[in-house]
């Protein structure tokens, strides 16, 4: 039984590791289609990772151990985060180990290390990127917590497993408070994953970068880990979103057939979310940097409104 539990956990982690680049490729391909371009294909991120892994990394002379350690730390935290979210099944040994608040903390840990490593070299772009990443992060995090508290109030627990079990048991009920939380969650996801309209993942203009500016000095396998980690992060964010707002189809039992259906359903959710992300990124232009606090302030406000609605009216 225990062995089965950990096998399921291991399979989910492997699934995330293997599929995260595909999700990134899918989003890019959808963006290309929406812009009337042919696109590079779904497998392009795998080719890029392979290319980076083969390349000899170049580490600046001034770099400290922190600089070299950070890609591993960031990658590991993302893998840990992927283990904590009940995406396929609620019977995960590690999912119970941490609740939603800890999950938010895991993401902050990665952000702090990325920012420290960027400042480690003392280059203009690194510290600029670190400053901007922290600006986005410290505004996005409270909004994320507020979003998580609404389903926590509904289900009476901050544990994602309990939330999923409760929400799925309620059946298809439309909670207005959850609608507010869902919109806020989409906004936070865009900001946290360095997507348009907050950051432009495709830009080559170093002065406009947020996430990319943190990684300018990385190359080879270090860059591969960071890129892979970023893909996993997006994957996990969609996983959390699916667990909170579309928990139906996450396996409650332990049968193989149930698991297979859960995997298929989750893949469908991913594809839909990826396509939706591509639409958002096509329709919106990039915000002026100092509009980002307003954007995230709006997300926070929406999340608080959802929370209030639940708390005061019980919707």
């Amino acid at each position: 039984m225990i062995a089965h539990l950990f096998m399921r956990q291991g399979v989910q982690i492997l699934f995330v590791l293997a599929m995260a680049p595909l999700l990134a490729g899918w989003v890019r391909q959808c963006r290309a289609w929406l812009a009337n371009r042919a696109g590079a294909g779904l497998l392009q991120p795998y080719r890029e990772l392979l290319r980076l892994l083969r390349k000899q990394p170049v580490v600046p002379h001034e770099a400290s151990a922190l600089f070299v350690a950070t890609p591993y730390i960031v990658f590991t935290t993302m893998v840990v985060a992927s283990a904590l979210v009940p995406m396929i099944t609620i019977h995960l040994p590690l999912a119970g180990a941490a609740d939603a608040v800890v999950l938010a903390g895991v993401f902050s840990l990665a952000r702090i290390f990325a920012a420290l490593a960027a400042m480690d070299l003392g280059t203009g772009f690194g510290s600029m990127g670190a400053r901007r990443a922290m600006l986005v992060g410290f505004l996005a995090e409270p909004a994320l917590l507020m979003v998580l508290f609404t389903p926590a109030l509904i289900s009476g627990s901050t544990s994602l497993v309990v939330i999923v079990r409760q929400l799925a048991r309620h059946g298809v009920i439309l909670y207005p408070s959850m609608a507010f939380a869902a919109v806020a969650y989409v906004m936070v996801t865009l900001a946290e994953n360095a997507r348009l309209p907050v950051d432009n993942p495709d830009t080559h203009l170093e002065l406009t970068m947020i996430h990319e500016a943190l990684n300018l000095e990385y190359s080879g396998r270090y860059l591969a880990l960071i890129e892979w980690g970023a893909a996993i992060k997006l994957f996990v964010y969609i996983g959390i979103g699916a667990a909170l707002f579309f928990p139906w189809g996450i396996a409650q039992g332990t049968s193989s057939a149930g698991l297979a259906i859960a995997y298929a359903l989750f893949s469908a959710k991913l594809a839909t979310a990826g396509a939706g992300l591509a639409v958002i990124e096509t329709v919106f232009a990039k915000l002026r940097l100092f509009r980002v606090p307003e954007f995230l302030g709006t997300a926070f406000l929406l999340a608080v409104l959802g929370l209030l609605m639940r708390y005061l009216f019980g919707h």
Binding site: A35, R131, H204, T208, T282, L289
Partner: protein, 516 residues
């Protein structure tokens, strides 16, 4: 008429060619006095450069061209033999400052006041070697790596720090160094450092016969090749007393307008991309690509290189080609209009464009803005209207101006100019004169020749000076980016660092075109 009552001590000689231009030799006193008067009459310094005329016994010569009320005034000043000096014009015309610095870098002619830091000089030449001097040995040994001690002007204060960008960038773009002094993400000061693309073009042009230099002149700045080749051809025709057939003049205008449209399409697409709207980038990229493919099909080169030659135009159009070009105008007009509606209605993109990088008219006038940038700040300067050479005198081009001077205005000007150029192209195609498209251009006989074309960035100039007996000549090609680069430093003050690429793209100035 202002600017026409000339300085009494100065003998003005009308220059050959279609431009209403006159030339005079002046002394140091009238050099300053004339410049001062033109400044008060809203004259614009079109170009300032020098030449080494020591073989002719005149020593070093400094030339300046000022456009004043539609009249072109070219004055030349003998600056001496051993320690050439001249009175600076940068106090009157701020846009002269960098050209004065380049004068010293290339020829060792110094002026009495102003910034003495190098501009085009990156330690590639010894401190006493000046590459444009006639006795400069080509292939002289390179001297050391670039000097890291270039004195940027520092900004001090609590929380101020510098961001150094370039000359090598994260994307595939031209080399330029930008030194920002910032507090947080707000720009307190920007200083440009260019001159990384020096190829010795001016030196090479001296070594080529005038009739053959056109190929090289058309390669100074590839996105303006028709304008450069056109200006060069006009200048050479002026010193060769060559009369270009009307059909060639009309075909040249056709090429210039097509070049303008191609660049404006590309720029609007790039501005959409920098604003984060990839859709616009792809759509305008597609329109530009089709436009360039027509160039390739009808003129043999995507960017129209080597089409305009001294004496006329290298190719000609048959009736089928005329019909094809006319039809293409209709298609492009519809496509551009519908895309403009999308862009104008896109709140997010307009939020980025509106009010960003504002250059008001007062500043633009004081600093001598040229071309498209001036027109976006409400200054209606366009050679096609103020010095209209055929066929623009009959086509009656309309100037597009906007008063706002922000990125949005520079986008709007580009749209307006696309529509106007499409109208001009159709008018040209409808009334294209018959006859030959080129005539043989005789050997050069004159001393001075001036050519000017309103390229898509602004006026592109070519000035030829010849020493007839000695067979030596100098060609100066001038890009409007000389005037507009310093404006970029001005408009970003108080803006956000991440908005700089957008503002820079809305200017889209030449790195290579002003570094010869």
């Amino acid at each position: 008429m202002p600017c026409d009552d000339l300085h009494p001590d100065t003998a003005w000689a009308r220059l050959p060619g279609p431009l209403p231009a006159a030339h005079a030799w002046v002394d140091g006193k009238s050099w300053r006095a004339l410049a001062a008067r033109w400044r008060t009459e809203d004259g614009q310094l079109a170009a300032l450069w020098g030449s080494d005329e020591r073989p002719a016994g005149i020593g070093f010569v400094v030339h300046a061209i000022v456009i004043c009320g539609g009249a072109w005034r070219w004055m030349s000043l003998a600056a001496g033999h051993d320690d050439p000096r001249f009175p600076a014009l940068s106090e009157l015309f701020p846009e002269a400052a960098r050209q004065e610095r380049a004068l010293f870098d290339l020829l060792g002619i110094s002026c009495d006041v102003g910034d003495t830091r190098p501009w085009l000089r990156h330690e590639a030449w010894g401190s006493t070697d000046f590459p444009l001097r006639r006795d400069f040995a080509e292939g002289a040994p390179k001297v050391g790596p670039a000097d890291p001690s270039y004195p940027f002007i520092p900004v001090r204060g609590s929380g101020v720090h510098e961001i150094a960008v370039g000359p090598i960038h994260a994307g595939t773009i031209e080399p330029g160094h930008f030194r920002f002094s910032v507090v947080g993400d707000e720009i307190l000061r920007l200083e440009e450092r260019l001159g990384y693309t020096h190829k010795g073009v001016a030196k090479r042009l001296e070594g080529l016969p005038l009739a053959e230099g056109g190929r090289l002149a058309g390669r100074i700045c590839a996105d303006s090749t028709a304008a450069y080749a056109g200006a060069y051809a006009m200048a050479v025709e002026a010193v060769s007393a060559c009369t270009v057939p009307p059909r060639a003049l009309w075909l040249r205008a056709l090429l210039w307008e097509r070049e303008r449209i191609a660049n404006h399409l590309g720029d609007i697409g790039a501005l959409c991309q920098d604003g984060g709207l990839a859709f616009g980038h792809t759509q305008f990229g597609l329109l530009k690509e089709r436009w360039l493919q027509t160039h390739r099909q009808l003129f043999g080169h995507r960017y129209l290189m080597d089409m305009i030659i001294p004496g006329g135009v290298a190719g000609d159009l048959d009736l089928a080609a005329v019909a094809l070009l006319d039809g293409e105008c209709t298609t492009l007009l519809q496509a551009t209009r519908s895309l403009q509606n999308i862009i104008d209605d896109h709140a997010g993109l307009q939020e980025r464009f509106l009010g960003t990088g504002r250059l008001d008219e007062t500043q633009a006038r004081a600093l001598g803005a040229a071309g498209l940038i001036a027109r976006a700040s409400g200054i209606g300067r366009d050679l096609r209207v103020f010095s209209p050479s055929p066929p623009y005198d009959t086509l009656k081009a309309r100037i597009a101006t906007r008063a706002e001077g922000d990125v949005a205005a520079r986008v709007a000007i580009r749209f307006d100019e696309i529509y106007e150029s499409l109208r001009l192209i159709r008018a040209i195609l409808a009334a294209l004169p018959d006859g030959p498209a080129r005539v043989p251009c005789g050997p050069p006989c004159g001393v001075l020749g001036l050519g000017a074309v309103e390229g898509w960035r602004g006026p592109v100039l070519a000035a030829v000076t010849r020493a007839p007996g000695l067979g030596s000549h100098h060609v100066h090609m001038h890009d409007p980016s000389w005037q507009n680069w310093p404006l970029l430093e001005r408009v970003v003050l108080g803006e956000l660092v991440p908005d700089f690429p957008l503002i820079n793209k809305s200017f889209n100035l030449a790195y290579s075109g002003h570094d010869l």
